[in-house]
Amino acid sequence: MSSLDALATRAVKATPPALNKAVRGLSDKTIAWIFIAPTIILLLAINIFPLIWTIYLSFTNYAANRPNRPIMNVGLRWYRDILGSPEVWAAMQATAHFVFWTIFFQTLIGFGLAYLIDRKFKGHAFWTTIILIPMMLSPAVVGNFWKFLYQPQIGLFNYAVSFFTGIEPSSFEMLGSVTLAPWAIVIVDTWMWTPYVMLICLAGLRSIPAYIYEAAEVDRASNWRQFWSITLPMALPFIMLAVLFRGIENFKMFDMVVLLTGGGPGSTTELASITLKRQAFEAYRTGYSSAFAIILFVAVFGLANIYVRTLNRVKQR
């Protein structure tokens, strides 16, 4: 039997390529394209074509609620309006405040938790899984029920704060106050996503081999020194990766904040995406909002690119 197989294999190998295809089925090249084509087609249809359409719309005066009005080219008018608009800059400021402080707290607490979990106390796997739960929830549903928690009189948050600090629960309102509302959204996002940063930092900490620490002990390096010279630098690429992902996500943030504060009070928590939604789907200024969308995309893409380049440099160190 096996000599027949050997003969068959030699026969197959001896046939010229064109005939070979018919004998051995579809060629690798065909298969590669068949396998990739549906994905590329779908992405072209739902991502790229709309992106190009958005770029086109950003130069017109199209309004989605008046589709039959003749479309006029307005050139760079929307881009100039947006870059000079105080309302847009206020939204970008609110977004920057949100992104900065959420990254700050999530990295601090997330890394701290990861460090503590890496001490490997009894039951740490179980408690890690418990800590992970908030980040798996729907941000919209979370924003909705935190509105309940933040109610001044009936909400758990004010009650808990008053329990620990003695401040009267109805004396402050997280969602209604212009100074507190931006912090209210930072708190909820930190509650949700600190586990995310923690998980990534934990992977970073676990990737540091024990022998490095042992060598440091032999050299009589203090714990403090070990932390600054070994732990932090080796975990840094992971921390930076977490910061990148959280930064991109929070720049795009919409659902949690829109359900928690609606952008209010006034527009103190109106993030870029919320302004975009208002202009596009309430004021129906399609051309204007298309320009804004392009600006936002370029901003994220550009910042992410710079960041990834820095990250690659850090990884190579």
Binding site: I31, I36, I133, M136, S138, L241, A293, A304
Partner: protein, 318 residues
């Protein structure tokens, strides 16, 4: 001179005290972090007056009113009318009548939940299918511009959903896909396929090429080897990817609220609209939220091992 025998342990192992204190802080954080969830779970079992009591009630009498209100629409009637109706049919009827209200029909929660199931599972199935084929091709073949293509696939996730929704809204309006399950499935698939390709490529990269090459030497075609050799080995990776795609589609709000209104609306846009008599019906919202969270909690438990890989697009592996 005396020699003290220290308790033998690796020099890098933390002391018992360090471990205990670390454990204490972490457990404290875990409990505090669970408190809001416990609260919303408990609220689902309170009566509406209890849920808005001041100060908030930690101990209360449980009631089915939240869950009943979640699934029904009710009208307020006079006591005489209620008397004339005859005996209540079922616990929810009893509970509702005690509030001097009568059940008028089913609420929209169940249909919305079902929509969530259909759209989430449908888009996940599609995304994973497209993803596994593409990931195999990227992994095994030399695709021209592979790195650029992969990065392009990833960068489609950098646009704010609202920005993507603007042209999609117009496009779907033209094509008649507005407020349809198919439209939402296609959209979620397009968003998820980038995650699926990145994750599955990572998983497939880890399957040694030798297996399918051996199969092909034995006479299998490439296609045959893919189905018979590679796919079974990628099963865990496929399952993990599927669950991540599911979680995204399940929790999604922005597209759902902008592109659907009645027919294809999923649960996340619906839950914040559950109004009771004096504002939001918090027990019903609590009940709806709890039910909505259960599949995700189950999946998180199932997914523990692959969680890190999934949330970092496969960039970080344990």
């Amino acid at each position: 001179m005396s020699v003290t025998l220290s308790t033998a342990h690796s020099v890098v192992e933390p002391s018992r005290l360090a471990k205990r204190s670390a454990g204490f802080i972490v457990i404290l954080y875990a409990l505090i972090s669970m408190a809001p969830l416990f609260w919303i779970f408990a609220t689902g079992w309170k009566t509406p007056p209890d849920s808005i009591s001041y100060p908030p009630k930690i101990v209360f009498d449980p009631s089915l009113e939240g869950y009943c209100n979640l699934f029904t629409t009710r009208t307020r009637q006079t006591a005489d009318y209620i008397q004339a109706l005859g005996p209540p049919q079922g616990t929810c009827d009893e509970v509702t009548r005690r509030r001097e209200m009568v059940i008028a029909g089913a609420s929209n929660y169940a249909p919305r939940f079902v929509n969530s199931l259909i759209i989430a599972f449908g888009s996940t199935f599609l995304a994973v299918t497209l993803g596994v084929f593409s990931a195999y091709a990227f992994s095994r073949f030399k695709i021209p511009l592979a790195d650029d293509l992969l990065f392009f696939i990833l960068s489609t996730r950098m646009m704010p959903p609202i920005a993507v929704a603007i042209p999609i809204y117009l496009m779907y309006r033209e094509l008649g896909l507005s407020d349809t399950a198919l439209g939402m499935i296609l959209l979620y698939t397009a968003v998820n396929v980038s995650l699926a390709v990145w994750l599955l490529k990572g998983f497939i990269d880890e399957i040694p090429k030798e297996y399918e090459e051996a199969a092909m030497i034995d006479g299998y075609t490439r296609l045959h080897a893919f189905f018979k050799v590679v796919l079974p080995q990628a099963a865990t990776g496929i399952a993990a990817t599927a669950i991540f795609c599911l979680i995204f589609a399940w929790n999604e709000f922005a597209f759902a609220v902008l592109l659907t209104s009645g027919e294809a609306q999923t649960a996340p846009p619906f839950i914040p609209t559950i109004i009771g008599e004096g504002g939001m019906d918090w027990p019903a919202v609590g009940a709806g939220t709890t039910l909505f969270l259960i599949p995700i909690l189950v999946f998180t438990m199932l997914l523990r091992k692959h969680l890190l890989r999934g949330i970092t697009f496969g960039a970080v592996r344990k």
